[in-house]
Subunit: 463 residues, 2 copies
C-alpha cells in the first residue's frame, strides 16, 4: 500500500511529505486531502492548514536546540505571525509557548492551553491592565523600560503577587558597523548596527544596568533573565557576532552585580531554509549550533551557569504549513497593446500581505491544484479583485494554461497572512480549514458582508 501510494503521489513544494500530487486524479493533496474537494466543500478563497507540518516544524526547531543544549529550551512561537486558536492549540500540545504582544495575543495564548511559564509578554508600551493580566496569569514579562518596571512592581504588590521578569536589552553592535542589510521591508542605506541601536524596543545598556539594580531591590518582581531579539542581524547572518556581544553584557552584569540569569531569551528572526525569497539561509542546525556553542563558551569565560534558553521564532513554524487556494474567474488577454495576459482570481492581496505590507516584494510559489502536472505554458499576472493596480498576487508568473474554474494554490502563506488580513474594499476574509491525515474541520469561519458591517452605526440625525 505504501509503495503503491508512493508511485502514485509526488511530494511537492516546501511542505515536504505533507503535500503531494495525486497522479491518478491529477490533484494537489494536503495530508491526503484533495484541494479540489476542500475548495468545493469550504469555498474559495481558502486557507488550508497542515497540522502535521506545524508539528514537524516545531519539533525540528525545538530539537535542533534541545539536542545541543544542557538546560531547558522554551520555544515561544511568535503570536504575531499566526494567532489562530487552532494552530496555537497545536503548539501548546507540542509543549510550546507563545510570544504575546498585548492583551489579545496573551488571551489567545492562554486560551489555547500553553503553559503560562512558556508564555512571554513583550511590547514597548504595556498598559497597566495588560501588566495586571500578565501577573494574574503568571506569564513571563519582558520589561521594556524602567518606568514599566516600577509600574509592574506596584501592580504585582497590589495583587500580592511576584511578577516573573526579564529585562530587554538594546545592543550596541560595534562589530556590525557599516554592515548593510537588504530587505525590501526596511529602509535602505541604514547599517545593522545603527538599526539595532535606534530600534524602538528595549533598553540601552546604561539604562538596563540601572533597571537591573532597581529590579534586584524590588519585592514584587523576580528578575529571571535578560532578553534580546536578534531579528535583523540574525536574518543578515551575523547571529554569532550578536550572540557574543549579548553574552558579553551578561558577563558584565555578573561582574558588576554578581547576578546570574536563570534564563536568557534570544528572540526570533530565524529564516527558514524553505522560505521562497531567500537563496540559501543557514539551516536550523547551523543556527542552533552557533547560538548554543556561543552561549556555552561565553558562560565558561564568565564563570556563569548555563541559563535556560527561551527562543521566539515567528515565521519559522508557520510559513510552509499553510496554502491559499483561489479560483480562477476572468481571463484577459491583450494582443494589440500591452501584449500580456491577466488571470483574475477570487482571492486578493488583502490576504497575502506580510508584516512589511508590500505585496510587490513577496514571492510565493504557485501550483494548479486541479491539474498540478500540467506543463508551464504561459506567462501571466495573477490578479485579485481589489480596486488597486497593486493588487497582483503574482507578477509575470509562468503558469500552465488555465481556464475559468481552475484552482491556483499559493504555497508558503502560513506566516502573517491570516494575522494581517484586512477587509479593504469591503471584501470578507476567507475561511481557514485545518487538516491532518484523518480529519478536516474549520479553524476560522468565512466572513460575510454582515460581519464587515457589524460595527457600523448610522447616527439618528442622519436617518
Amino acid at each position: 500500500m505504501t509503495m503503491q501510494k508512493k508511485r502514485e503521489c509526488l511530494p511537492v513544494g516546501n511542505m515536504a511529505e505533507y503535500m503531494e500530487i495525486d497522479l491518478k486524479r491529477n490533484e494537489l493533496k494536503v495530508e491526503g486531502n484533495s484541494c479540489v474537494t476542500l475548495a468545493q466543500t469550504y469555498g474559495t478563497p481558502l486557507f488550508v492548514i497542515s497540522e502535521n507540518m506545524i508539528r514537524h516544524n516545531y519539533r525540528e526547531f525545538y530539537n535542533a536546540f534541545r539536542s545541543r543544549y544542557p538546560k531547558e529550551v522554551v520555544v515561544c512561537v511568535g503570536m504575531k505571525a499566526n494567532y489562530g486558536l487552532a494552530v496555537r492549540r497545536i503548539i501548546a500540545q507540542e509543549g510550546g509557548g507563545g510570544d504575546a504582544f498585548g492583551e489579545g495575543e496573551l488571551y489567545v495564548a492562554l486560551l489555547a492551553g500553553s503553559d503560562p511559564n512558556k508564555i512571554v509578554l513583550n511590547g514597548p508600551n504595556k498598559p497597566n491592565e495588560v501588566l495586571k493580566a500578565a501577573v494574574q496569569s503568571g506569564v513571563h514579562i519582558n520589561v521594556d523600560n524602567p518606568d514599566e518596571l516600577e509600574r509592574l512592581n506596584q501592580i504585582a504588590a497590589n495583587l500580592s503577587k511576584v511578577a516573573n521578569i526579564s529585562l530587554r536589552i538594546r545592543l550596541p553592535l560595534d562589530a556590525l558597523k557599516g554592515k548593510m542589510f537588504a530587505d525590501p521591508r526596511y529602509p535602505t542605506g541604514v547599517d545593522i548596527a545603527k538599526w539595532e541601536t535606534e530600534f524602538k524596543f528595549g533598553m540601552e545598556p546604561a539604562s538596563l544596568f540601572k533597571a537591573l539594580e532597581q529590579a534586584l531591590r524590588m519585592k514584587n518582581v523576580r528578575l529571571n533573565g535578560i532578553m534580546y531579539h536578534g531579528g535583523i542581524p540574525r536574518r543578515a547572518e551575523y547571529y554569532e557576532e550578536e550572540t557574543q556581544v549579548f553574552m558579553d553584557y551578561v558577563g558584565q552584569l555578573k561582574k558588576e552585580f554578581n547576578w546570574e540569569p536563570e534564563t536568557i531569551n534570544l528572540g526570533g528572526g530565524f529564516v527558514q531554509q524553505r522560505y521562497g525569497c531567500q537563496e540559501s539561509p543557514p539551516s536550523i542546525d547551523a543556527y542552533a549550533e552557533t547560538l548554543t556553542s556561543t552561549i556555552k563558551t561565553k558562560c565558561k569565560e564568565y564563570s556563569l551557569p548555563i541559563p535556560n534558553l527561551f527562543l521566539e521564532p515567528g515565521r519559522w513554524c508557520w510559513e510552509n504549513a499553510i496554502i491559499y487556494l483561489v479560483r480562477v474567474g476572468e481571463i484577459k488577454e491583450d494582443s494589440t497593446l500591452a501584449h500580456k495576459k491577466w488571470v483574475y482570481v477570487d482571492g486578493n492581496t488583502n490576504h497575502l500581505t506580510t508584516s512589511g505590507g508590500d505585496p510587490y516584494m513577496n514571492y510565493r510559489h504557485t501550483m494548479l491544484a486541479n491539474k498540478p502536472t500540467a506543463p508551464l505554458q504561459e506567462v501571466a499576472d495573477i490578479c485579485g479583485q481589489l480596486c488597486n493596480a497593486q493588487d497582483i498576487l503574482a507578477h509575470g508568473r509562468e503558469i500552465p494554461k488555465v481556464e475559468r474554474g481552475d484552482l491556483i494554490a499559493f504555497l508558503d502563506v502560513g506566516a502573517y497572512c491570516e494575522s494581517t488580513a484586512r477587509q479593504y474594499n469591503a471584501v470578507p476574509r476567507p475561511a481557514s480549514v485545518l487538516v491532518n491525515k484523518n480529519n478536516v474541520d474549520i479553524a476560522r469561519e468565512r466572513e460575510t458582508i454582515q460581519d464587515i458591517l457589524s460595527h457600523e452605526r448610522c447616527p439618528f440625525w442622519l436617518m
Copy 2:
C-alpha cells in the same frame, strides 16, 4: 458671540473652519467638540469624523465641475477610500453616489441611500452573483472585458431586465511615453504610458471596439458610455493629455459606429491641495477647468453632443475630514547610545496604512490635542505598540514636550485608514465618532478581543 469666539479660537490644519484651537481651554476642537472630552468619553485610539468637512469637500468638488459643465455631473465618491455607513449616508444626502467594487461596497452604497443611478459597479473579475445584484438594484456597471459583457447580457435576460453599462478602456498614452512618475506606492523606473498600458483594469482599444459592436447588438444591455480612470496620469499632472486621448477615442467610436455616449466616466485620482505630502498639486478648479474645457472642445471637434459626466474621486472627500486621536503612554529616552527619544501611543500603524500600505511613506501632521499651543521643543519617534520595528506613526517628528496621558491628533487620516485597518497582533480596531456642531455619536463601534476571536474555532480532535 461670533466675534468673541473668533478671538478665542484659531482655525488650524487642513480641516479649515471645522477644526480650531480653543485658546481659553487650550484644546483642539472639531466642529466645536473638544477632542479631550471626546477621548474621555469614547476612549482612544479614536477616529473623529467632521460631518461638515465631508459636506464641504463634496460640494467643493461637485461645484467645481457643475459650474463649468452644461450637462449632468455625477460624483461617485470612491467607496474604497471610506466605506463607513455614516459617511456614505452623508454623501447620499449631498446627492452623491458611489464607486463600488464588489458585493460589500455595493451593498453599503445602497444601504446608505444613494440613488442607484449614481452608483457604479467597477472591478475586473465580477462574479455572476455580483452582476446579478447590480442588475437587480439597477446600478450602472462598468464592464471590464468582453467575457463579462456576455455574462451580463445573459444574467439580465434571465432577470428580464436591461443592464445599464459603460465599457472601461485602457488607453495607449503615446504622448506620455518616457514621462516618469515618482510615487512610493509604485515601482520606480516605469513610465506612465507603460504603466497605463499594462494596468490590470479595462480593455485596450481593439478589444473595446469589438465589445462595443457586440454590446450594441445585445438586447439586455444598454450601452450608456465609456469609462476611463485617470489615476496615475492625473496625479502626475498629465490630465489634459489623457483627457484629449480619451476623447479622441470617443470621437473614433462615433466615426466607426456612429455611436455617441450618453455618459463618460473619467474615474478618480484627484489630488487634494491640502494633502500633506504633495507640494502644490492643482486646485480642484484647475482640474475641473481643464477636464470640462477639453471635453467641450473635443465634442465640438467630433460633432458629439456633450455627455453627462461621471467622476470617481476617492481620497478627495475624506482625507482632511477625519483625525486620529491617540494617548501617550510610555516615553523612552536614550542619552548614552542612540541619543534619541521615543513617544509610545495607544494607536498604531494597523490603523494608519494607505492603499499602498507602506507606513514609511506617509506624512501626517500631528498636534497635541490637549495643549495645542505648546511650543515645539523636542524631536521624537511617535511609536505604536505593535511587534514591528516599522510600527512608527511619525519618524523624527518635532513635537512639544509630552507626558503620559497627553493626546496626540494625527490629521488628514480620512482616506483609506479605516477601510484598510487590520487586527495584526490581535489589537482591536478603534471606534469612530461622527461630530457636527450640535451632535456627537458613534459611527463605528470599538472592537473587543471577542470580536477578533469571533470566527475562530478549535476543531474537536484538538480539544
